[in-house]
């Protein structure tokens, strides 16, 4: 069995997202900061006539700089899980790759919130595999101030 993976790049760091969760990849999008929102979901942006939550992976990654108000990253990955849609601003997106499930192993070389597994996305790079279901379950508990 293989899993299709979309590798994202954020400040030079690779992060893998299950491709089945991706609805669309678009350019940089302006977004609006919302007061009292948790730092990982700092605001909303427009997508297909509605507002969707901005998911800032950097805000939940040690060593990465969270989105500043008004900052726009070059690409936006629109992803969905359990009917919740997120806009994920990133610096770059690579081609979808297929990875044999046997190569997805518990995280040992990488450390990333909401990623308990990691996988090689090329000969030199191991990336954490973001678990959007776990992320959504945690965020649904309530805001983190």
């Amino acid at each position: 069995m293989t899993l299709s993976i979309l590798p994202l790049i954020l400040e030079g760091r690779s992060i893998a997202l299950p491709a089945e969760r991706v609805l669309e990849i678009i350019g940089g999008q302006p977004w609006v900061l919302l007061p009292k929102a948790r730092k990982e979901l700092p605001g909303v942006c427009a997508w297909r006539g509605r507002a969707i939550a901005v998911l800032d992976i950097a805000a939940m990654s040690a060593g990465l700089k969270p989105l500043a108000p008004g900052e726009i990253r070059a690409r936006t990955v629109v992803a969905t899980v359990d009917r919740v849609t997120f806009a994920v601003p990133v610096d770059a997106v690579h081609e979808v790759c297929s990875v044999d499930e046997s190569r997805i192993v518990p995280s040992r070389l990488t450390e990333q919130a909401f990623a308990r597994h990691e996988l090689p996305i090329d000969d030199r790079t191991v990336a954490p595999l973001l678990d959007l279901e776990a992320l959504l379950a945690d965020f649904s508990k309530g805001p983190e101030q």
């Binding site: 007061p35 909303v44 309530g142 983190e144």
Partner: protein, 129 residues
């Protein structure tokens, strides 16, 4: 501003701040009073609650509105504007942003008026402010 669709229209009373505006349903506004003439309990400073920066030399007014819990006095520091929009220009804030609960901003106007407008729920604003 799209006044040509009044049947499906939304009317907002917006206070312009730096980078964004905050707004309430214009039809909920009972009266507008100059801040210097307001002698009752101090009004809720909405811009401060929403971490918005008022425009320099902004005029201060008190908006008395009908909220679900009763009358509320909101401090408006900035340029007031009546905005008329189509309902489709207003987008609901996804509940996940506030962890499934109610936040101080229930809807936004992202593109229709050239600057973002945060539409407030005065009761939640007071509760979270």
């Amino acid at each position: 501003v799209k006044p040509e669709q009044p049947s499906r229209g939304v009317r907002l009373l917006a206070t312009r701040c730096t980078g964004a505006s905050w707004a309430v349903d214009a039809d909920s506004v009972e009266r507008i009073v100059r801040r210097s003439d307001w002698l009752e309990q101090p009004p809720l400073d909405v811009a401060s609650s929403l971490a918005l920066a008022p425009l320099p030399d902004a005029l201060e007014r008190v908006l008395v509105i009908h909220a679900a819990s009763g009358p509320k006095a909101l401090l408006s520091r900035g340029m007031l504007a009546l905005i008329e929009l189509s309902a489709s220009d207003v987008a609901t804030v996804p509940s996940i942003v506030y962890g499934g609960s109610t936040g101080p901003v229930h809807s936004v106007v992202l593109e229709a008026v050239g600057f973002p407008v945060l539409i407030c729920d005065p009761d939640s604003l007071q509760a979270t402010g």
